[in-house]
């Protein structure tokens, strides 16, 4: 494994901790077929990381193996639910997603480039915002709750058809100011514990805090099926949880700050593969 960490101390700790808990050399191939890039050179805008890693690398052997086979990945059950929803007519216009988009595979590549600037709406949009845009504006249906069950299931379906494709979100052009806001939030300390995302996920990945093995906090695996709560989890809900854990006041899902943070964190994973729905603990 190519290690380009800044400090030898950090690298040593990473090896020691991973040796006990996970196979740091492991490669992820899903269904013996879809090759997932779980480690690669960091993109230029986060050159300080040297190498970027999927959260999968930091999980135990057992958790890792659950993601190697769709029949074992509990997240795939929800993808099946979403396929049903995809084909179901909803709203006053009498449309289903399938009526316009055909097979879900027609959205291959979409997960890899979101959040993304939308010219018409003149805003950076997450996939959830796009789905709700289609529901309210094109289907005459009610918006799904942000990070609610239907939405997360649909996001899992949309991610699943992009698995193996490299994350490649645009950070320049009209998206740049949101990206900069996200970067600012990433390095801001929150709460009474006074911790930023970077304190844990940039300065200390590979280390343990109590029994938690810290990853880089990448989001290429979202939605994630967590063994801890036995359900699919959305990106922004995860961010909220991490801010709450600093004894901080979180933000609501779907607000500008978390959209910006999602864009920024996604961009830190440019080059890793889309792997949602992934399995984490």
């Amino acid at each position: 494994m190519k290690l380009l960490f800044r400090g030898g101390v950090v690298a040593g700790a990473l090896f020691a901790a991973l040796a006990a808990q996970a196979d740091e050399e492991a490669n992820l191939v899903i269904n013996g077929d879809i090759e997932i890039t779980v480690r690669t050179d960091a993109p230029e805008h986060v050159a300080q990381l040297g190498t970027i890693y999927s959260g999968w690398v930091f999980r135990s052997d057992e958790t890792q193996s659950l993601q190697m086979d769709d029949f074992e990945n509990p997240g795939m059950i929800f993808v099946d639910d979403a396929i049903d929803a995809w084909n179901t007519v909803d709203g006053t216009a009498g449309n289903s997603c399938a009526a316009c988009h055909g097979e879900p595979e027609s959205l291959a590549g979409v997960r890899a480039v979101y959040p993304k600037w939308n010219d018409e709406a003149e805003e950076v949009r997450t996939i959830a915002m796009q789905v709700n845009g289609c529901r309210t504006e094109r289907m005459g249906a009610e918006a799904w709750k942000y990070d609610g069950k239907e939405m997360i299931n649909m996001e899992a379906l949309i991610a699943s058809v992009s698995r193996g494709m490299p994350v490649d979100v645009a950070i320049d052009g009209p998206a740049q100011s949101m990206w900069e806001l996200g970067r600012e939030i990433y390095y801001t300390r929150f709460g009474q514990l006074d911790l930023s995302c970077a304190n844990c996920h940039e300065d200390n990945y590979g280390n343990n805090i109590r029994s938690d093995h810290l990853s880089q906090g990448q989001i290429n695996g979202f939605p994630t099926y967590r063994l801890k709560n036995a359900q699919l989890n959305g990106v922004q809900s995860r961010f909220r949880g991490c801010i709450r854990d600093t004894r901080g006041e979180t933000y609501g899902v779907g607000v500008e700050e978390l959209i910006a943070l999602e864009l920024y964190v996604a961009s830190r994973g440019n080059g890793l593969s889309v792997e949602g729905p992934s399995v984490r603990n």
Partner: protein
Amino acid sequence: MKRIITASAFTVAATLAFAEDVAPDNVVFSEYGEVEASLSGQAGDPAAGLQIMVSRGKGNCIACHQVTALQEYPFHGDVGPILDGVGGYRTAEELRGILANPKMTFEGTIMPAFYRTSGFNRPGNAFTGKAAEGELAPLLTAQEIEDVVAYLQTLQD
């Protein structure tokens, strides 16, 4: 996953504050981050300090530090330095300062300030994710800080 510093960790113990305690905002740090006198005016109890070190609801120090003498308590993290022998190379004044607000000793450190109640960005109401209501309480009381200082002083090589 078990959350890093779980919801119960760093439970606020403010109810036990006494009038003679130095208030968090009034703690005086030396140029190097030391705090001269006991925050509670009392000596610390090392046995109580040990419990605070290991309990998730209190200091949860082993979340980030390994301590050989505390090996029977599971899951020591490795974010901070090993504390073996720290009582030999750090004075009580230094330890008290590091606990009260380690940023006065280590600029930009990840270690939380255990006796500080102001200057935070979006402080929450404990681990609810909601905004803090009213004045914050410190993560540990003045006496609890003294107890931990007393325990750390027992860590000699």
